[in-house]
């Protein structure tokens, strides 16, 4: 049963990973690692507790460790791969700008911006998933959103390749 519960979160884990990592295959790698880790640790999950936060926490830890291992830690333009199939009104360039901007902000800010914005977690839930105090979530959210705003504002109409410099 718990296994089915884990399975029901896969689409959201994928959405988050795609936005976090950029590249579709690397994002699914991260989801796969997360599922495998979650299943081996399933006996540690307390029934009744928040499974979504638990799964996102596992994914976050894996992501941080992998990014650390890769050491470069910074997305190159090549890493900001193909956007997801456009869902109607969003035009490709806009996606590219948003992805480029997301890739250009620090990962810890990106994670908060996405958990709150995309996953629609409360600040408390995001804090649990990331293992940081709520105040930290708030400050990362504020900095992340401001930075994104500036990037998107300055990037409007410009070649996105110029924006991914850190």
């Amino acid at each position: 049963m718990d296994r089915e519960a884990v399975a029901s979160h896969i689409p959201r884990l994928r959405r988050y990973a795609r936005a976090l990592v950029g590249d579709r295959h690397r994002a699914d790698d991260l989801v796969q690692d997360t599922l495998e880790r979650a299943l081996t640790k399933l006996h540690l999950w307390r029934p009744g507790s928040d499974m979504r936060a638990w799964l996102f926490a596992i994914m976050h830890n894996l992501y941080v460790n992998q990014a650390r291992a890769r050491r470069s830690g910074i997305a190159s333009l090549e890493d900001i791969a193909e956007p997801p199939a456009p869902g109607g009104a969003v035009d490709r360039l806009e996606i590219r700008d948003l992805q480029a901007a997301l890739a250009a902000i620090p990962a810890e800010q990106r994670a908060v911006v996405l958990l709150v914005g995309l996953e629609e977690m409360s600040y408390a839930e995001a804090a649990r998933a990331l293992g940081v105090p709520i105040g930290t979530v708030m400050s990362r959210l504020a900095r992340g959103r401001e930075r994104l705003r500036q990037l998107l504002a300055s990037g409007a109409g410009a070649a996105p390749s110029l924006k991914v410099v850190k």
Binding site: M1, R14, R18, Q32, L35, P84, G87, L102, L141, R145
Partner: protein, 247 residues
Amino acid sequence: MSAKVSETDLHAYVDGALDEAHRREVEAHLAASPEDAERVRAWQEQLAQMRASFNPVLDEPLPDRLHAAISRRRFPYALAASFLVAGIAVGWLGKGVLAPEARAPAASLSKRAAVAHAVYAPEVRHPVEVGAGEQDHLVKWLSKRLGEELKAPVLSREGFELVGGRLLPGETGPVAQFMYQDARGQRLTLYVSRANANRDTAFRFSQEERVSVFYWVDGRLGYALSAELPREELLAVATAVYRQLNP
């Protein structure tokens, strides 16, 4: 920014995390502060863009590897591979070589059933072709294809509910597979094929890697019940199946 409205409040406003009274305060503040109003508008646009860009991921079909990662056990590739090799060895392509030794068909029955179980039981989205909701149609359809009147045993007393069934290619013709599941998500499958030798057999047990199989021939049909369960537990279910098919 007014003393009452903080940066945090502005974000909470964007995230819909404020109560009514707070929300009104922030709105009043925004009306008086074009600069903050512009920032809030930009954040809202960010959110809309982000959702429009990434929400389509929710509807993408899952890649097989993620299905596999979540399925109850790792797929026993070794079992499937050994079956494939055996199939080729006995002349799967050459045919006719399987013209059986009295025991051989029953033995291969258990093996085929175990492979079919291993293939379909871990499926999350498409475990069956026809669901239990259309049970009458399912049983009629499979009966027609096998040319024998089939029954889907009721195993609620044993804790299993019918998930549905599918048609599979067997050695000499169509095979029916019924799938059941208990409250823990443990699945078992009943594999029913036409027996080529019209000779009843007793229950036989076979362990194919993690899959336990009880199989028997009853009249014109061969049955194999497979699950990743200990032998005794599976025997209890097999007995119930046998009794229902022979009231």
